[in-house]
Symmetry: C2
Subunit: 153 residues, 2 copies
């Protein structure tokens, strides 16, 4: 074990933990052809039915333009479709295809193995507590940030 000085930076601590866990999940998911992040998108779309890009981005705490980028390989591989919302033609609806549903089903076992591997090492109760804490962090509003042009417009 490397005896490193404890991390003082909240962001650095989050990124280190996320990389560690990404490495585990992506290794186990690799045979399915999906990454952990891609699976997360598909799961949310499956649960929501046909969310708009904005809804999906908000739910995943993703920048909308980043979501657009992330959806490209999923569209290319025929796992999702992105279509214009007839009620509001500014909006786009994201839907899972049959192929996407099948792929998602295929990954369930590998995902469960990753969850079990993590929770065996870390503790199931601690893992549930951590998820709850992280959801809280993800939903924090930090008051007025310095003017991101998007927020002000």
């Amino acid at each position: 074990m490397t005896t490193t000085e404890p991390t003082r930076c909240n962001l650095t601590a989050l990124r280190k933990a996320t990389r560690r866990v990404s490495q585990l999940y992506d290794a186990l998911l690799a045979p399915s052809g999906l990454r952990g992040t891609q699976r997360g998108i598909l799961v949310h779309v499956a649960r929501s039915g046909a969310p708009t890009m904005s809804e999906l981005a908000a739910a995943l705490v993703l920048d909308r333009t980043a979501l657009n980028h992330n959806l490209k390989p999923l569209q290319r591989d025929g796992l999702v479709t992105v279509t214009v919302d007839k009620d509001d033609r500014r909006s786009r609806l994201v839907r899972l295809t049959k192929r996407g549903e099948a792929r998602l089903a295929e990954t369930r076992t590998a995902w469960q193995q990753a969850q079990e591997r993590f929770e065996t090492a870390f503790g199931a109760k601690q893992a549930a507590d951590l998820r709850q804490t992280l959801e809280l962090v993800a939903s924090l509003e930090f008051g007025e940030a310095p003017v991101p042009s998007r927020a002000l417009k």
Copy 2:
């Protein structure tokens, strides 16, 4: 507040929280020309003196090839140097330059503001607890993963 179903996936929960906190730190650090991730690298190099690429990657829980990529803009901007280790010419040593030290000093105030903003919203005690938990997660060893070729070689 979006009433979303709680996240079951440990990785998805980590990524959402990390994105949220990245957005805060990067917004506050932006005027300094550094991102939160870059600052994290510089801080560790500053503390370690002249770590090897492998040491630095391990400390940051980064793939070594990813670290190589991440160092490129820092080298381009003259904030770090990467030189051959005379004792073992396979290894490379990463050092901060004077310019890098100055840049790091310049970011301290913005970084402290980001820390304060986060800890005001989340709680200072909770933030310290979370960092400790995340360090634990980052240091987890998950036993035998399915054969990453690097690990076996």
